[in-house]
């Protein structure tokens, strides 16, 4: 079919416009749909949705315990992932010889590709048993196990993004520091890492977002108990749950208000992650702007 060039161009452009609009529409529709499904729960419970009161018999569905569990597990995961991740990123970006770097980078990307269910499987079969036997826990299913696995899972994203941020620091900065007689480590500590700090924090924030949203392995190793432990920071012996694990555990049978409450959990997760990714983006843009002039 022969068409005038201009018409053809306009058709193609509009075709892509439709495709793009469809994608964007899908995205916005997911947002909208989640909120409408969750709103009955917010209407029914009001602020009680944040209370520690999850009872099937009384039809009270407060998400407090799950939110608490999410926070505890995420903090634990970050205690592992942030120091290890940043130090490894420094090693990769500044110390590793080119060849080692070319091997390690893909390996860390592979680590990011391992499905969460495999982590969960390993968590159940190796980690919880290990914890049970050598830390003599009751079952090994605990916040500690969840944090350990989540920490490992958050590592790749923190490492690869921090590595990019450190690599983006202009060479002139480092050379100036070395020229005045600083050792390499002093340069890293006082020049490179502080210059890359907004990129590194973007990485950390994204890592936290990832840890908050991970589902399967947490639901497998946490033990699914919907209650705030006493004392609230008891990390080692108690089983618990997170927002994600709660949804997986209860969604199959949930009806009515309980279902809406689970959607509310989804919305809370969604809002947390949205805040994380927006602030991470802002930080990343800042570092881009900062080094643009060089």
């Amino acid at each position: 079919m022969w068409l005038p060039r201009k018409v053809k161009e306009a058709l193609i452009k509009n075709f892509f416009l439709v495709v793009a609009a469809t994608s964007i529409f899908i995205i916005l529709f997911i947002f909208y749909f989640l909120f409408t499904q969750a709103s009955p729960a917010f209407e029914e419970f009001g602020l009680n949705i944040f209370s520690n009161n999850w009872s099937y018999s009384k039809e009270q569905y407060g998400l407090g315990a799950a939110i608490h569990g999410t926070i505890i597990v995420t903090i634990g995961a970050m205690l592992i992932a942030i120091p290890l991740g940043i130090l490894s990123a420094i090693f990769l970006a500044e110390l590793a010889p080119y060849r080692l770097r070319m091997i390690l980078k893909p390996i860390i990307e592979l680590l990011a590709g391992i499905p969460s269910i495999v982590y969960g499987f390993i968590g159940v079969l190796l980690l919880t048993r290990y914890l049970r036997d050598s830390f003599d826990m009751l079952s090994g299913y605990s916040y500690l196990a969840g944090s350990l696995i989540l920490g490992v899972m958050a590592l790749p994203i923190i490492i690869s993004m921090s590595d990019d941020a450190i690599k983006a620091v202009p060479r002139a900065y480092k050379e100036a520091s070395l020229a005045v007689g600083a050792t390499k480590w002093e340069t890293i500590k006082k020049i490179t890492v502080p210059s890359a700090i907004s990129g590194i924090s973007a990485a950390v924030i994204l890592g936290i977002g990832r840890a908050v949203g991970e589902t399967m392995e947490v639901s497998l190793v946490l033990g699914n108990r919907m209650d705030i432990p006493i004392p609230p920071f008891d990390f080692f012996e108690t089983t618990g749950t997170t927002l994600t694990a709660l949804i997986v555990h209860d969604m199959g049978e949930a009806v009515g208000v309980q279902r809406n409450a689970l959607f509310a959990a989804g919305v809370i997760l969604f809002i947390i992650v949205a805040i994380m990714s927006i602030s991470s983006n802002i930080l990343r843009e800042r570092i881009e702007k900062k080094f643009k002039g060089d």
């Binding site: 995205i27 290890l84 130090l87 390993i122 003599d136 994380m276 983006n281």
Partner: protein
């Protein structure tokens, strides 16, 4: 409180001992406090390790308070000596030590008496003693400063060791995971296992329907996500004017990309399941929407890496916009798009949560005949087997399933990385 503001009379009587002039006294106080803290910590630790609780909780609490007072003295001496870094460091380590030593035994086993075995005490011993050693080193580096001063060279060396140890710690779980799955999984792989139907809840038979289901899901996801995603990226990068709207769109894509897969599962369950039922199609759509932002992002990235002057060159010889995109922009961007898409599909095929309520049955699903049939899928099968672990044959089958899943996912990741490295176009 600033030292200078203390009245002279007070300074000469009591606070005078703590003033900067009385340097030796502060050092002594600091040393005593460090020693005391260590003793308390060791007592607490041994009571933990051998389950001989030192008195009841009240006694332990009093000890904790006394130790805290002494720690305060350490802080004070740091403050006077203007050692900010040491203060921060000490804060972190005291918190860790107290958490480990005190909060742990405060909550004894709730489920009756248990025997503490030797392994356990050794591990706890290692943890606590490492933190104590660090506190001690910090203390001595201050107190006996002239004797053990770090040179910048020795600092660099120790920092390098820490960096190397940290990268090894990162690789350790990966090695454990892959080696255990390979060694334990390979034994369960046989032709029968790969080609037989699931029988008796996975305790017998093979995983053929799971593999087929996962592959169908992957193909379907690719059909849904890649055309939409690449088209969207072309429009956003090549046609749309940069402005507020494209910015908002890009934020939306970012948020959707970060959205936990369980939230996608909720969406699929509440929106698609009422229409299509629990079926292959529902799973495909849910996973497709999950993969969409990944494809959009990576394609945008690929288009952006093509420099502007190449497009201008094409326009200069009379190409229209579409001709320029098709002939000079798309070819160099293609490796990037394929890499991103394959990575996205690799992620999709390993996802469990989104298909759990939308596409799979553990009972009675077979190889699907149509899009509206429920299916088996590898990750969900592994999930159910993990829950069943403890029954006789399940563990072996679970390892083998994990091996197959890991092989598929890592294979796809490796393909993506190879494509990227092989066909990378440098401008």
């Amino acid at each position: 409180m600033r030292l200078k503001e203390i009245p002279k009379s007070l300074k000469s009587s009591f606070m005078g001992y703590f003033s900067k002039e009385n340097f030796e006294f502060i050092k002594l106080l600091y040393l005593i406090s460090i020693i005391f803290c260590s003793i308390v910590a060791i007592i607490g630790f041994f009571s933990l390790a051998f389950s001989i609780y030192f008195g009841d909780n009240v006694v332990r609490f009093l000890l904790l308070v006394i130790a805290l007072i002494f720690t305060y003295f350490v802080y004070y001496s740091f403050f006077v000596l203007k050692k900010r870094k040491q203060m921060i460091g000490l804060t972190i380590f005291t918190i860790i030590v107290y958490l480990l030593v005190y909060l742990l035994p405060l909550f004894p086993p709730k489920y009756g008496l248990r025997d503490y075995d030797v392994d356990a005490s050794i591990l706890k011993f290692v943890i606590v003693s490492i933190s104590l050693v660090i506190v001690g080193v910090m203390g001595s580096s201050l107190t006996f400063r002239p004797r053990y001063r770090f040179t910048s060279k020795s600092k660099e060396k120790s920092a390098y060791y820490i960096l190397i140890v940290s990268i090894l710690l990162v690789l350790y779980p990966l090695i454990i995971l892959i080696s255990s799955i390979v060694t334990k999984g390979v034994g369960g792989i046989s032709w029968d296992f790969l080609t037989m139907d699931v029988r008796k809840l996975g305790t017998e038979g093979g995983i053929y329907p799971c593999i087929v289901g996962s592959i169908f899901l992957m193909i379907g996801t690719a059909i849904v996500a890649i055309p939409l995603g690449v088209g969207c990226a072309i429009y956003l990068q090549e046609y749309a004017r940069k402005g507020l709207i494209t910015r908002i769109i890009s934020i939306c894509v970012d948020i959707l990309q970060g959205t936990p897969s369980i939230v996608h599962a909720l969406f699929g369950l509440a929106f698609f399941v009422p229409i299509f039922g629990i079926s292959l199609l529902t799973g495909i759509l849910t996973l497709g929407f999950l993969t969409l932002p990944i494809v959009i992002r990576s394609s945008e990235e690929a288009f952006r890496s093509v420099p502007q002057n190449i497009r201008e060159g094409a326009y200069a010889v009379g190409a229209t916009k579409w001709q320029a995109i098709r002939t000079v922009v798309l070819p160099p961007a293609l490796p990037g798009i394929i890499t991103g898409s394959v990575l996205g599909l690799g992620r999709a095929v390993g996802e469990t949560a989104p298909i759990m309520f939308t596409a799979v049955y553990f009972f009675g699903a077979g190889v699907p005949n149509s899009l509206l049939d429920p299916i088996h899928a590898l990750p969900y099968h592994l999930h159910e087997l993990t829950k069943l672990i403890g029954y006789k044959e399940v563990t072996q089958n679970a390892w083998a399933t994990a091996f197959v899943l890991l092989a598929i996912v890592l294979g796809m990741n490796a393909i993506a990385i190879i494509i990227r490295e092989r066909f990378r176009v440098e401008f």
